[in-house]
Symmetry: C2
Subunit: 517 residues, 2 copies
């Protein structure tokens, strides 16, 4: 339908379309929309939407159904609608958009060039402003992996990512943080380290992510005990009361370019060390950390599988950390099996509370690892002699100060139900012969726990009854699946029946633990 003479720039009425396209803005125009016809837009091309001084970018989908959008309307998916921040019916103007200017830098990277700080700044700015399509982000990621980024480029990318969002400032010269590069189910040391370190008197305002591909993130597990969805103001209040917090980082708008890139990197399954380092350090520095302890677990089914890779990563982290002025130490730990017993938010929260309560059933590996890492962080304190951190941490745990601190943090954030009993549908997986547990596959146990419903259903997951090196008789239960819903329960059981994730063999076949550095 041709538009009438003068109104070549006729505005379209904004409409919210109840479709969630995650980190990609999608706009909908009706196939008979005059503007669509006139501008010769291509499906999947990118358009620019202007209204009341605001501007967003979106990928175009063409619609043939007036119940979604009419000819005089512009539809936006929920995330795009929120980003524009205007009411339905607002008048919007739509125009072609050129590919983001920084795609030139991406094409230079594809051709093998080294990029500058300015290039990375332009790229992360364009990504944060949603100017990149998923395809363009994939192009950037692949180009970065393939011709590789040298360490200066990783530094530039980190810096550019930090600048892409907000930064939190704390009134203290020592702000401690820790990060584990992941891949180990049940590895909830953070929830023990934070209260120990804060009880000692150091500031440890911890922001964590929710699980994306794992059965539980620290934010998911903490949410079993307390509110974690804190605004930056609430976070400051909690920290000023308790010296710490255990909050979800999603509301603080820290390094948003990183979140957007991760939403492409994960489904692609490409692993870029440079991207990972920039991702971790930008988040921590934006969160205001001055001292950071990094945990790199190594094991046959961990994210890092070989010691030489762990050592190379350590050097890279140290180099970038030093250049960015953050005090950074790396611990290489044993990643040969899950830590603790529970896998899934509630079961992991139970493990954490047992350790804090010095309960006789508390999983000793979780306790030991947490004390060791907490001790290293305590040694960031100039008043603590090298080597004394572990002892101090143990004292704080054993005399109940850590538990008291955790209770204070929970109260300050807002206590919630605190159910930690595991979901009602249960199934035990048994040893099919006698012997010694020689290996536990982190990936398979995580998969089973996710199928059982974790992290969405907090009480769902897996409870390990045997760990590496333990003797088992044929028919002994190895672990227990907990699920809330029959469908999930059935998926998890079939996955476990297909492959339990456990190997039973002889004592000398036990997966070798990696020396902890």
């Amino acid at each position: 339908m041709p538009s009438s003479n003068s109104n070549q720039k006729a505005p379209l009425k904004l409409r919210r379309v109840g479709i969630d396209t995650y980190h990609e803005n999608v706009a909908y125009l009706h196939r008979n929309c005059a503007l669509y016809r006139a501008e010769g837009f291509q499906a999947l091309s990118k358009i620019e939407i202007n209204a009341e001084g605001k501007r967003i970018f979106a990928v175009l989908n063409v619609v043939d159904d007036e119940t979604i959008v009419c000819e005089d309307e512009l539809g936006l998916t929920e995330q795009a609608f929120t980003q524009l921040g205007l009411a339905e019916g607002s008048l919007t103007f739509v125009a072609h958009t050129e590919p983001p200017a920084s795609m030139d830098a991406v094409r230079r990277k594809i051709d093998g060039s080294r990029l500058t700080l300015k290039d990375f700044r332009n790229i992360t700015r364009d990504i944060t402003e949603n100017r990149y399509s998923k395809m363009e982000m994939a192009a950037f990621l692949v180009a970065s992996v393939q011709s590789g980024m040298d360490r200066e480029e990783i530094l530039y990318l980190t810096r550019a990512m930090i600048e892409s969002g907000e930064q939190i400032h704390w009134d203290d010269t020592l702000v401690a943080d820790k990060h584990c590069i992941g891949g180990i189910p049940g590895n909830r040391t953070t929830m023990l380290i934070v209260p120990i370190v804060a009880a000692h008197g150091l500031l440890m305002p911890k922001t964590s992510s929710r699980a994306i591909t794992s059965p539980a993130g620290t934010a998911d597990t903490m949410s079993v005990l307390a509110e974690v969805n804190l605004s930056p103001t609430q976070m400051h209040q909690v920290v000023s009361q308790t010296h710490a917090c255990l909050a979800w980082g999603g509301r603080a708008h820290l390094a948003p370019a990183d979140d957007i890139l991760i939403s492409v990197e994960r489904p692609l399954g490409i692993d870029s060390e440079g991207q990972m380092i920039a991702s971790i350090l930008s988040k921590k520095i934006a969160a205001g950390a001055t001292h950071l302890l990094l945990d790199i677990p190594v094991g046959p089914t961990a994210k890092v599988r070989h010691m030489n890779q762990a050592l190379r990563l350590r050097k890279l982290f140290e180099y970038i950390g030093d250049r960015l002025g953050i005090h950074l130490e790396v611990v290489i730990s044993d990643g040969s099996q899950p830590v603790g017993r529970g896998i899934g938010p509630a079961l992991e929260a139970r493990d954490v509370m047992q350790v804090l309560e010095n309960h006789p059933d508390a999983p000793s590996d979780l306790r030991q690892k947490s004390l060791r890492l907490a001790g290293r962080i305590l040694e960031f304190d100039p008043d603590v002699r090298g080597g004394q951190g572990y002892g101090i941490a143990r004292d704080i745990l054993e005399d109940g100060r850590a538990l008291k601190k955790m209770q204070d943090i929970i109260q300050a954030q807002g206590k919630v139900s605190e159910v930690m009993k595991g979901a009602p549908l249960t199934k035990e997986i048994y040893a099919d012969h006698s012997g010694i547990v020689t290996s536990i596959n982190n990936l398979q146990l995580a998969r089973i726990a996710r199928l059982a419903g974790a992290p969405l259903d907090k009480q769902s997951g897996v409870d390990l009854l045997k760990k590496l090196g333990e003797p088992v008789e044929k028919g002994d239960p190895l672990y227990r699946i907990h699920a809330e819903f029959p469908a999930d329960f059935s998926f998890a059981k079939s996955k476990a029946a297909e492959e339990s994730g456990y190997r039973i063999g002889k004592a000398d076949e036990v997966t070798q633990s990696y020396m902890e550095v």
Copy 2:
């Protein structure tokens, strides 16, 4: 796949969602859909849809609006719905899907490996089955550009693309085809070459594309004169009657993996020689060509800008063509300005018909170039001596046999209206000073013609009134814009006002024509 009991595999009712997402299948599930909840699908994750023995893959979008899909429904975009080919309300089963197995090969390519024929076959098969997301295709394309494909890999990719779809077979030992690698507006030589070659007696069943980023493709221009949307059966009938056709290739399902990759490659703006060669040769070989003439125009605003690049391309084309058993010759031509006068389907059709009719106004550059290329194709005929093709082609054109053949082809395909007068809204663009036309920017003229409405509005476009080297006085019209609709007209005029695309200067500044090889 976990087995069924009661509700865990509850089917969802199929619903067509009137959204066009081009070459990416999108599926919509309601946020409260039991299956969405139970399976822990992630937005943007890929799912597999099974129904009545059919299976397709789609990217998941989550919906909060029951007017789009209800909790017990599965919505599919138009292309996905068509691909599944079932009625609305059909019962469908949805499951997680793993990333396509061939992504392993893509990751190896990212790491710098050389891929095998088997790898390329797996990749094109997965792409054709819509198992790849746009991101994954972008990853494949960037990986191919960046570590480059050696000529064996280009050969493998070409072969794999051919095998990804149908192949047409003709009962003749010499099936001629031609292809121009593009970038020159108005370059409609194909519509002259085909009737000349067919009038000589060679078989030339030509399938062409519609314009994607240009103001007219051969299929768009031919559609001004005749029906081009032919089924494979109709195409065979036309060819058996006339020895030729000038049809749109979209219905023949030739090398579909190529079409899908192009839909990602274009918006990314990455140029991969290997992809281009595989794209062209796979389409031609699948269309049954045994002899192919390739036209590579070289010029400052053409796709190929330097002679050395054209020569390298020629070698690559020759190598792959020889290995695939197609007789292939390459002509490097002058791409310094548009060919003929009209830019846009009807105006280009008018130029073509003027040449066929030996009209005194017929554009001589279009005539000369077409005769030269037709002559080279005639020399594929063992009975034609080298060097005699041009003369034979000229005779066929001048004595009206080419025109007669074109009329036969038009009749056989189905004659249509045949209006070639240009759209009614016109505006002439004038020289702002006197001198010689020293350059004409192909890209800018194509842009203006597209804004004017081409190729959607067949009568819209640009008519060139002056060509390179012609003298002009201040105020002389350089070209005329034709548009159907006021909005388009206004867009085209502002673009031309911004930058006419013409340079007027001194005789010795005229863009140098490239030697034709």
